[in-house]
């Protein structure tokens, strides 16, 4: 656990834990940025709560970024950067995924902008998003094999 008294006492953490105690697995604060570790099975529900609670309004999803930690496990981190415009507050939600059949529920119903972010991660990392309306490659050609941003894919490609 990387939780410290400071990060655990952040109001948003308390609010989420009051709503659903096991919504947050861990909290981290680094360089003034708060990261909440959300269990894989909770991300959609947590996302809905954050986006739709009237006084929270984290309705703006800036970005979803995947990181491949191969050969460590859990292999993938998914980082959801959310923003509440009325509160002028930014937050990072992190979901850890295993290397074998990495998959998580799509958050497109919560933040429609996730559509292309999830497609890009599927394309370049091979993470599957359940319930995504149109999960297909985005940047690479449709018949490409392999997931180029994975650490076991060479930077110069396969010749």
């Amino acid at each position: 656990m990387t939780e410290t008294p400071d990060s655990a006492n952040a109001p948003i953490v308390a609010r989420l834990r009051a709503w659903r105690p096991h919504a947050i697995a861990d909290v981290q604060s680094f360089r003034g940025e708060l990261t909440l570790y959300i269990p894989r099975t909770e991300i959609r529900r947590v996302g809905e709560f954050l986006a739709r609670e009237p006084d929270l309004s984290f309705a703006y999803l800036s970005d979803i970024t995947a990181v491949d930690r191969f050969p460590l496990e859990p292999r993938f981190d998914l980082n959801y950067h959310v923003l509440s415009i009325p509160r002028r507050e930014a937050l990072r939600l992190r979901v850890l995924l295993p290397g074998v059949s990495p998959g998580v529920e799509s958050v497109v119903p919560v933040w429609p902008t996730a559509n292309w972010h999830e497609r890009e991660i599927f394309d370049l990392f091979g993470v599957h998003f359940e319930g995504h309306p149109d999960l297909r490659r985005l940047l690479m050609p449709e018949n490409w094999e392999g997931h180029p941003l994975r650490k076991d894919y060479p930077v110069e490609g396969f010749r």
Partner: protein
């Protein structure tokens, strides 16, 4: 192909391919349009024609080397990319950039904003038939490019910012060049407005075209003038100020209509606000002072010291051979680029090379809104809508 019910009976739609080679897609963008006559029923963007693996390449370069590829992401605003990346690495390292360098960064980034909006205006206008505006905008942009060349040695891919500050001391007399720009440009912007703002043809091509509601814009993650044209005032420079922007006095133009005309008005007003910021920055930049942070293991020592002091020589050697290693951790730095929220996410594993560098490109996200803007409208409006989003394929595809 779908069957559409019309007044005279059912007809089939037609699928038309627009791009990737097309003068009005502003880059290698392919849009698959499904048409019922001239009305767009469905639009689907196909991107990736300019994907060069920038994020993958960055993992193989040291933090300093990676600055040079950041220029190429949004190639119409290279200094913005440099800034986002350098700020992210500086945040990761926890180093403080001297005020003089921060003010110079603001000055040059705002000039970049003007340069980028000039390209946008010129190309958007020429797409809709106003061809003189294109040449006028590029005439002004030429002055900016000459200035960037004077300061950094490069017209476009400047790589002028470094981790900790700037690459070089600006040359003597550079402020004279900027003074000329600040004096001349307001009248030039008036010229463009004379040609377009009250022009009946411009208005009928842009008013009421490509309407994006505030709710849709937020749901789709749109940012920048495309968001502010729909009434949402989110500007990273005001919400999460960086590089001393909180010390500058400027407005953020917001319009409520959400159409192409609103976005046009926002961007033209933004160019004027940028000139205001440049004017203030000129007054704030001290004539002398450090241009790089005092961080011995990260920022290389001055050349004179490196040639005479042993410790400085050793630091210089280690920095340029081994590189510097930030602590393990992740940061996300957002800035307001001419197109919207440009984010740089860096994950460090304690090695001298970025473990992961992700660029959150505003055009990538804004382009998702294209179907919302053009479905149900005519093909000609599709051209206006692609132009109004101000997309750059370099940052969409990376």
């Amino acid at each position: 192909m779908t069957i559409v019910q019309t007044a005279t009976g059912p007809t089939q739609t037609m699928v038309l391919n627009m791009g990737p080679q097309h003068p009005s897609t502003h880059g290698v963008l392919r849009v698959v349009l499904e048409l019922d006559g001239e009305t767009v029923v469905r639009a689907d963007s196909d991107i990736g024609y300019l994907h060069t693996g920038i994020e993958k390449t960055a993992e193989a370069l040291t933090y300093s080397q990676a600055i040079t590829i950041t220029d190429r992401i949004d190639y119409l605003a290279p200094l913005s990319n440099n800034l986002a990346y350098c700020l992210a690495v500086e945040k990761l390292l926890g180093i403080e950039v001297p005020k003089r360098a921060q003010y110079i960064r603001v000055l040059l980034t705002e000039l970049t904003r003007i340069g980028s909006h000039l390209v946008w205006l010129g190309t958007h206008a020429i797409d809709l038939g106003a061809m003189s505006v294109f040449l006028y905008c590029f005439r002004e942009r030429e002055e900016l490019l000459k200035l960037f060349e004077m300061v950094s040695g490069q017209r476009m891919m400047t790589s002028y910012f470094r981790i900790g500050g700037l690459a070089l001391e600006p040359p003597v007399g550079w402020m004279d060049g900027i003074e000329k720009i600040v004096q001349a440009f307001p009248a030039r912007f008036d010229e463009y407005e004379d040609l377009l703002t009250q022009n009946r043809i411009w208005q009928s091509r842009t008013r009421g075209v490509g309407i994006l509601s505030a709710a849709d814009a937020i749901a789709l993650g749109v940012s920048g003038p495309s968001l502010r044209g729909s009434g949402v005032d989110y500007d990273v420079r005001k919400y999460f100020p960086y590089s001393s922007y909180e010390e500058f006095d400027f407005q953020v133009p917001v319009r409520a209509e959400g159409d192409c005309y609103a976005r046009y008005m926002c961007r033209v007003a933004e160019m004027r606000e940028s000139l205001k910021i440049v004017r203030q920055a000129m007054g704030k930049v001290p004539p002398e002072g450090p241009i790089r942070a005092d961080a011995p293991g990260i920022v290389a020592p001055q050349r004179e010291r490196m040639k005479t002091e042993m410790e400085a020589l050793i630091y210089h050697f280690k920095i340029y051979t081994e590189g510097f290693a930030p602590p393990p951790g992740e940061v996300y730095q957002r800035i307001e680029s001419p197109r919207g929220e440009l984010g740089c996410y860096i994950a460090s594993d304690g090695s001298p090379k970025p473990y992961r560098m992700k660029i959150r490109a505003p055009s990538f996200v804004n382009l998702q809104a294209l179907p919302k803007l053009i479905e149900g409208r005519l093909i000609a409006d599709a051209i206006a809508c692609i132009g109004t989003l101000d997309i750059v394929l370099g940052e969409i595809d990376r």
